[in-house]
Amino acid sequence: MSDAYEVQLVDSGDTTYERSAIGVVVGSFGAFMLGIAALFGWVSTATYFGGVLLALGIATGMLGAVSRWGGVQTTPDRSPGLSAVLIQGFLWTATTGFVASNTLGLGGLGWIVAVFVGPLVGALTLMTREDLGATIPTAAFVGFVGVTIMTGVISPFWTWEPTAFDAVIPGQLAIPLLTMVGGLLAGQSSAIAYDGFGTRGRQNGAFLLISLVVLLTLSVLAFLLVFVFERGITVVLENLTIGAGTALLLATAALVVSVRGGHINPATADGTDKIGSFVQLAVVTVLGLVTLAFTYAIAANHTISGDTVTIEPTSTVGALPGLLVGLVFLNVLQRSSSPWSPDTETGRTVARLIAVAVGAMTVLVFLEFLIGAELAVGGLAIVPILAIVVGGVSALAVVATGGARVSGRTLPTWVPPLTRTGGVTVGAFVICCLHAVFTGSAVGGAVGIAANGAIDWPFVMNPSQGLGIQKGVMPAMVGTIWVVLGAVLFAVPLAVGAAVFLTEYAEDSLFTRAVDIATNGLWSTPSIVFGLFGLAFLVPRFGGNPSIFAAQLVLGFMLLPLVLITSREAMKSVPDEYRDASAALGVSKWQTIRTVVVPASMPGVITGVILGVGRIAGETAPLLLVLNGPNFPTRSPGILSSFMVRVSPQPPFIHVSNPALLERASALPYQLYAVITAGVGAEESFGWGTALVLLCVVLAFFAMGVASRRYFRSKLHQ
C-alpha cells in the first residue's frame, strides 16, 4: 500500500475499467442464473455453458492483469487474505484430485498429487499482490472448468460414480452446479475488481456473494411453489364454470382492493417500493382487462372458454361470492369514512332513520337464519323488498350527493356523507345475499342474486367417489378447516393465559425456567408422539373412536407450546413503563394486563399462531391415528348443523351435543397421503391437485393471520 497511487476521494464509477468490471459481474450473474435455470430444467444443459465459463474466466483474469500492469488506478492490498487462500487451496486440491484420479486414471495416487498442488496454489495466492491473487487463480479455475465442459470431457451424458458411496452424478446435474460455482467465483472476483480491490473491493465482493446465495434460496422456495402449482392447477380447475356476473363482481372487488392496496408512484419510488409499485400496476392492468372481458361476455352474450375453465354469460350474481365482495366493500368504506355527527334536528332524524332501516333489515334476516325459511306477507318476501327499497333510496342519495359534489354545490348539513349512504347501499346488497344464502331463494330476475349455481367448481366443491371415478376434495378440505379452527380455539386462550401467568404473576424462578425448558421441548416433540398420546388417552374418552374432536385437541396440544413461547416473549417485550404508568393511575394489575399488556402483545401472539397453524395444518402423522376417517368420504362433516341443544330438568339443564364432532373424518394431508399410497390405479394428478388445495388453505390461514396482525399493529401505532 505504501507505493499506492493517490486515491480519489470521489469515485464516479464510470471509468472503462469499472465499466468492464461491472460487465463481468453481470455476466457472472447471468451464468449463475443459467445454472439455476438448468438445474430446475427450464433450459437444457449443453456445451455452450463451458463457453460462457471460459469467457468469464478470461475476462476475470484480464481485470487482474490490467490492474497489475495496465496502469489502471486501483488500491490493492499486498495479499488477497487468508480466506481467499483457503478457498483457492481447496478448489485446486479438489480440481487436481478429480483430474488426476478420474480423468487421468491415477486413482488414489491422484489425490496424493492434489494434496501438494492445492496448498502450492494457496501459497502462491498468498504471496502475490491482491489484484492478481484475487483474480488469476479464480480465472484459471473458471476457465479450466469451461474448457472441460466445452471439449466434452464433462458432457450432459457424462456420469461420475464416486467409489465411496452409492450415487451417480450425471452431467445434467454437474454442469449446472459447476456453472453456478463458476458464476459465483467470477462474480466475486470481478466485484472486488470493480471497487479497485482493497477493503472496499472485498466488501463489494462479499455483498455480491451474499446476494447471489439469497437469490438461490429464494428461487428454491419459489421453484417449489411453482412446481406444485404447475402440476396441480389443471386438475383443480377441471370443468370450472363461472357465471360472468359473479366473475365480474369478483374481478371488480379485486380491482378495488389492489388499487387501494398501495399509493406508490412507480416513477418516484425506489428500491423494493419500485418493484412493488410496478407489480401493483401490472395487477391493476390485468384485472382491468379481465373486468372488461367479463363485461363483454355479458353484453354480447358470449361464452368464454379456455382449456378447463368456462365463463357463461349469465348476469346474475352468486349469493356467497356477493356476500364476500359486499363485506370487502363495507370494510373499505368503513376505513375511509369520517365520523358523521349531524347537529341539526333534521340531520339527527336522518341518522335515526338510517339506523332503524339497517337495524330492521339485520334483525329480519337474522330471524330468517333462525327459522331457515323466508319471511313473507301475502306471497311477497319482506327482506329483499325492504333491502331493495333501502338500498335504492341510499343509492339515489349516493348519486345525488356525488353529482352535487362534482358540480361544486354545497350540501345542507343533514345530508349524510357519501361513505355513509354508500355503506347503506352495500349493506342492503349484503342483506339480500344473506337472504339468498339462508332461504335458498333468488332475489331479482335476470339481473339479481342467484341462490346457487353461480360457480360450479367440481374439484373443490365435490366429494371424491373414489380413485378413478371423480376427483374432489370438499370433505377433506372442510375437515382440515374444522380441525385447524378447533385447535386454534383450544390452544390460543390456554397459551395466552399461561403466558400471562408466567410473565406477569409468577416470579422469575426455577419453576418458570423449568416451564420454559419444558415448553421448548414440547414444541420439538415429534408429532407422531402427540398422535399416539391422542389415540391412547383422548380417543377412549371421547366416543371411543377417532374423531374430529380428538384431532382438534391433539393438534391444539401441538400448537400450545409455540403460541405460549411467542406470547411470553411478546409480553416480556412490553415496556415496564406501561405497567408503571397504569399502576400510578391506580389501575389494578388485572385491568392493566387486560387493557395494556395483552393488546400490546397481540401481534406477537398472532405471529405464533401463524407459524403454528402452518405446521399443524399440514400435519399427517397424528391424523392417521386420531382422525382416521375413510380415505374418500362422501360427505363433509356438518359441524354447524349438528349442534343440538336440549333443555332438560337434569343439571346442567341445558345439554349441548354435537355428534358430528365425534365422527371420523378426512383431512387434506391425510387424503393426499391416501391418494399417493393407493398403489395400483393411483392418480398422480389427483394428488397434485390435493396438494395445491392444501397449499392454498394453509396460505389462506396465513393471510388471515397476517391481516389480523396488521389490524392489531395498526391499533398500537399510526
Binding site: 415496556p575 408503571d580 404508568a581 397504569s582 400510578a584 393511575l585 391506580g586 389501575v587 391499533k715 401505532h717
Partner: protein
C-alpha cells in the same frame, strides 16, 4: 470454589460499607446535619407528612431517617446529586416502591391524617389521590382520547362501550368534556384538538409528557408527584412543562424531583436538598436555599462546587 467466591463478595461488601461509613463520618465530623435545617414551618396542615422514613434495597440503605412536612397547593422541589434517593423518596409517597423487588420501607407517611403504610391501605385509592408523572414520557399505545380517559374508565367513573350504549348509559359527552378539560389544564388542547383519535405515540416528546400529565389529572388527584418530568425534553418543551407546573400548583400539591437547579429555583416554593447517603440535609423556602443556605454542603452543591 463457590464458597471462596462468596467469601470474597462478602469481604468486598464489608470493605465498601466500611469505606462509605468512613466517608459519612468524615462528612459528619466536618458538619453535622442539624434537625432545625430540615424543619420548615408554614401555616395550615401539611398534606403529606413523613416521619423517620428509611428505605433499603436489599442491604443498600437508600434513605436515612427522612422527616418532612409538605404544605398543600404549592410546588416542592427535591434536588440533589444522582443516587441520593430523591426518586426513591418520591416513589415512597404513593407506594410505587412496592413494585420494586427487594425494596423495604420503614417509617410513616401520613396523607391527610392517615398513614399510607398502615395495613389495609387501598393502593388503588391511594394512587388515584396521589398521581405520578415519570421521567420518560410513557403514554399508552392508544389514542390521545383513550390515554386521558384511561384512568376514569378503568375506575368505572366513565362507562363506555357496547353494553352501556345498549343500556343508554353511555358517558360519551361526559368523557368528551373531561378529556377537553384535562387537556386544557395540561396546556395541550390547542395542539391536539383535531386529532384526539390519533395514536399518542405520534406526538412529540414534550407533548407526550403533557399528555401524561393530563392523564394523571383525569383521575382528579390531590397530589402530583413528578420524577424529573423535563429531563428528557428540549428547552422549549421544558419551559412549557415548567409553566404548567406553576399553573397546576394553584389546584394541586406538586412535588417535583429535578436535577436542574435553575429549574428548581424558577418553579418551586420550597426546596428539599438530598445529599449522598440518602439523607435530607436541608428543607426551606426556595429563596433561602439558593441564596443563604444554613449548610455548607448545600451551599457548595447549589453553587456548583460539587455534585
Amino acid at each position: 470454589m463457590t464458597e471462596s467466591s462468596v467469601t470474597t463478595t462478602t469481604e468486598r461488601t464489608d470493605a465498601d460499607a466500611v469505606t462509605s461509613s468512613n466517608e459519612t463520618t468524615t462528612g459528619e465530623s466536618e458538619e453535622r446535619t442539624k434537625a432545625e435545617w430540615r424543619e420548615y414551618t408554614f401555616d395550615g396542615e401539611p398534606v403529606l407528612s413523613v416521619e423517620d422514613l428509611n428505605v433499603w434495597y436489599g442491604d443498600d440503605h437508600a434513605l436515612t431517617d427522612i422527616s418532612i412536612d409538605i404544605p398543600e397547593k404549592s410546588v416542592t422541589a427535591l434536588i440533589g446529586p444522582s443516587g441520593c434517593g430523591k426518586s426513591t423518596f418520591l416513589r415512597c409517597l404513593n407506594r410505587m416502591n412496592d413494585r420494586i423487588k427487594g425494596a423495604s420501607v420503614d417509617g410513616a407517611v401520613t396523607f391527610n391524617g392517615q398513614n399510607i403504610y398502615a395495613d389495609g391501605t387501598n393502593l388503588v385509592e391511594l394512587r388515584k389521590r396521589i398521581g405520578m408523572v415519570f421521567q420518560h414520557p410513557n403514554p399508552f399505545p392508544k389514542s390521545i382520547r383513550e390515554n386521558v380517559a384511561y384512568g376514569p374508565r378503568k375506575h368505572g367513573d366513565l362507562e363506555r362501550g357496547l353494553v352501556p350504549r345498549l343500556l343508554g348509559r353511555d358517558d360519551k359527552d361526559r368523557e368528551d368534556e373531561l378529556v377537553e378539560q384535562c387537556l386544557r389544564d395540561a396546556a395541550l388542547w390547542d395542539e391536539v384538538e383535531d386529532r384526539l383519535d390519533d395514536n399518542a405515540l405520534g406526538l412529540s416528546g414534550g407533548q407526550q409528557q403533557r399528555l401524561c400529565i393530563a392523564r394523571c389529572l383525569a383521575v382528579d388527584p390531590e397530589v402530583i408527584l413528578m420524577d424529573e418530568p423535563a429531563s428528557a425534553l428540549d428547552p422549549i418543551a421544558t419551559a412549557k412543562i415548567e409553566d404548567l407546573i406553576e399553573e397546576l400548583a394553584k389546584e394541586y400539591t406538586v412535588i417535583v424531583v429535578t436535577h436542574n437547579m435553575q429549574q428548581a429555583a424558577r418553579i418551586s416554593d420550597q426546596t428539599a436538598v438530598f445529599l449522598t447517603g440518602g439523607e435530607l440535609v436541608e428543607f426551606d423556602d426556595t429563596d433561602k436555599i439558593f441564596e443563604n443556605p444554613e449548610s455548607q454542603r448545600v451551599e457548595d452543591y447549589v453553587t456548583g462546587k460539587f455534585g
